[in-house]
Symmetry: C2
């Protein structure tokens, strides 16, 4: 151990070794490689339907919060309305998503998955969950708790808010 990297200085306690630049770099690379795996299975399925990750994200969060408004989705996904609209238009035209005018506020559009949309969502999420389930099982419950804990800390506060909102809500 000793040095490693450039910015190493002796640390006070041995317990802080996990904060060295080298450990952090490994964490960064783990995130990079893991994210590729994380998206690989849905990506393959999406290709068959000529959709992309953007469609997957929209479908996922509509499934998660049926009746969500366009604006809400915009905030969660962190893209422009033009970008999201392109994706939603395709999903609506293809009959996967239904857009209903709001009852209280008729300016709003509430988004729902159709039967076909539910099916695609199921196919995508089952593929993605399959990999996650295997990873969780191999790593064990304590590792999973740590995994979730660190991920939550990595988020921007605003994203964390979205994440935690989902946690409680339903």
């Amino acid at each position: 151990m000793s040095d490693r990297g450039t910015g190493q200085t002796p640390v006070s306690g041995e317990t802080l070794l996990f904060l060295t630049d080298d450990q952090l770099r490994r964490g960064i690379e783990a995130m990079f490689f893991a994210y590729r795996g994380f998206t690989a299975d849905p990506d393959r399925i999406l290709q068959e339907y000529s959709y992309g990750r953007a469609h997957h994200r929209a479908v996922h969060f509509i499934k998660r919060s049926p009746g969500t408004t366009v604006n809400n989705l915009l905030n969660i996904l962190g893209v422009t309305k033009q970008s999201l609209n392109r994706v939603l238009r395709a999903l609506i035209e293809d009959g996967l998503v239904e857009s209903r005018v709001g009852k209280q506020d008729r300016r709003e559009r509430h988004l729902y998955l159709t039967e076909a949309g539910q099916e695609l969502e199921k196919e995508l999420s089952e593929a993605q969950r399959g990999r996650m389930r295997a990873a969780y099982r191999d790593a064990g419950p304590e590792a999973v708790a740590g995994f979730r804990q660190v991920l939550e800390q990595i988020m921007d506060p605003e994203m964390r808010r979205h994440f935690q909102t989902f946690k409680e809500g339903s």
Copy 2:
């Protein structure tokens, strides 16, 4: 299948509750939101230089393995040579990366960061490490161990090979 279709059904042992569809969904969303945070700081810096994430990735792995070949980088990054070439060309033209003809095999190009390249890399990685360090510190060493363990399981076997190669190498 029994459970984990749509909702929750009793599982065999209480320890398996972390494998429910809902827990998996939370993990999936955590990955999504965390990855956004993970890339946010470097993205901001890159914008100032009119570079993108692709440039960051190239710079990161050249820093990690100085003298690596284009082909090696291609395998790690998982993109086409045309795509990587565009990025490398820009970095070379801007004087951040140096491409040296191989001595044994003169077809190969070995890639190195120049002084300027080192500087950009440092700026980017310090920003990214800063967030990771804070997350690690808040979560603690045991959580970090779990985090890394799960991420490694999520990777494709080939990516895991790359990741582990880096782990040992140097």
